[in-house]
Every structure is written in C-alpha cells, then in structure tokens.
C-alpha cells in the first residue's frame, strides 16, 4: 500500500492487529473508538458471531484531518484469531503498513501466542513482506488478571519478541496501553514514509 501520495496529498496507513483468538484485538479497537471525539467518529465495522468472536475482521477508519497539507487516514483492522480463519487473516494483511501483535499474557495461552506469531510470519512472507523488517509492536495484554495466571512481561518478551521491537503491557478492557501501542506503531509506520519517485506520483 502506498503510504503517502503527493499527487492527491493523502497519507493512508493500514495497521493490522494480529494475535491469537480472545487476546483482545477487538477490545483494543473498541477502546480507540470510544476515545474518538464525536465529530471524528466514523463507523467501526465489526463482524462478530453470536458469541462475540470476530468472524471476519474489524475495521476502524480514523480520519485525522489535514496534517501538513495532507489528508491523513489510518485504517485499523483486526484479524480473526481462531486457527480456521487462516484465509481471512491473509486477506486482511494485504497492503499492511504495520502490525500490532496482541499477545495474551495468560500462562496457559503461551502456545497459542507462539502459534499465532508463526502464522503471522508465514502470512507476511506469503504476501511478499519481510517479517523481519515490517513495522511491528508487541502488546502483552490482560495485565489486569491475577498475577498467578499471567506470565511476567520480561518472560513473554524473551519468548515472543525475538526482533526486539517496542513492547507494551496492556489491559485493553480498561484502555491501559492501548494508545501507547497505537502511537508506537504509528510512529514506526510514519518513519518509513518514502519520497515520491516523481513529482505528482
């Protein structure tokens, strides 16, 4: 996806929240949505099943207005975490500019976190991205659960964050860490803005 278009004076960033089922990806987007001023609230599209699991994906368009003469839009997506929605995850990753990996801090979810991370890497590679260089931020979610149920952040980081990317402790239900994570991935994505090949391109 073209991040900056000098011809139409537009900046568009696609950020995908990835992670295992029930790790809190949709909750992240819901918190962002809840903090938007009324006049900026577009439609958050959420396709969920009766049991509140994401069936297809969530989509939250963020219109940030005109910044330095550029109409700036962020598009936030989540993928369905469940293993059997592999095709959908791949589809949502098309044209991605940055990824937030939302890991579930619960000790018993470690294997799911690892499996989802491997799935992310495989799908990124399939879509032509280099999994070692695409902007990525880790969020260790559910830090509000009892300490006996969750792994220490350092341990999670050692196991999952082999690239050493920025990581954040989160409790998306209360909003903790949600905007820090979003700010971090946005900065990483924007720092890769590339110069136009020719004027007006």
């Amino acid at each position: 996806m073209s991040v900056v278009n000098y011809g139409t004076r537009e900046i568009t960033c696609k950020i995908v929240y990835y992670g295992p089922g029930r790790s809190g990806k949709t909750t992240n987007l819901q918190h962002v949505y809840s903090q938007l001023p009324e006049e900026r609230k577009g439609k958050m599209v959420s396709l969920a099943t009766e049991t509140d699991r994401t069936l297809f994906f969530d989509f939250l368009p963020l219109d940030l207005g005109t910044i330095s003469g550029f109409a700036t839009r962020f598009q936030l997506y989540t993928v369905p975490g469940q293993v059997y929605y592999a095709a959908t995850r791949k589809l949502v990753l098309q044209g991605v500019d940055g990824v937030v990996f939302v890991a579930d801090s619960q000790s018993r979810q470690l294997a799911e976190n690892i499996e989802s991370l491997q799935d992310l890497h495989a799908n990124l590679a399939d879509e032509g991205f280099d999994p070692r260089s695409i902007p990525l931020v880790m969020q260790y979610n559910k830090r509000d659960l009892p300490a006996s149920e969750i792994m220490p952040v350092e341990e999670l980081d050692e196991t999952l964050n082999f690239r050493g990317v920025p990581h954040y402790a989160g409790a998306a239900l209360s909003g903790k860490g949600v905007f820090e994570t979003l700010r971090s991935i946005s900065t990483l994505v924007l720092s890769r803005l590339s110069a136009p090949a020719t004027k007006g391109s």
Partner: protein, 80 residues
Amino acid sequence: MAKEPEEEESGEFADFLADVSKEIAERVESLSPAPEPPAEEKKLRTPRVAASDRKKTPVAEAGLIVEWPNIADRLIEEMR
C-alpha cells in the same frame, strides 16, 4: 471539510494526534519534492547544440512561400 489538528481535542486521542502530526510534519518537510526550477534557470539549462549539429531549415520547393514575415508586405503591394 477536513479538520486541522490544531483545533481543540482532548484526552488520549489528542495526545496521539499531536504525536502523529509532529511525525508527519517532520517527515513531509524532509521528503517534499524539490520545487520546479525558475523559468530563467531552466532556460540556461537547455543544452546547447553545436551549430553543425543543428537541423537545417529545409529548402523551399518552387512556389512555396517560406518567408512568412514578408507576406503581409507582399499582399499590401499587390493590392496597390
């Protein structure tokens, strides 16, 4: 109409917007395409062609008017 970020916002979203705006402002400044050179400068940059390389005006065939600036004079003369 698109809203400028300088306008009043509050809370987490405002902080986020401020950070994003700063990042974009810095990036866009450094990446803006170079302005078109002024016309005069452009003129100077036009490559000069050696006289021998210049295309010669084709020789006019008989009956074909090639000296266009003189046509008006000729018409006036004819009409007298």
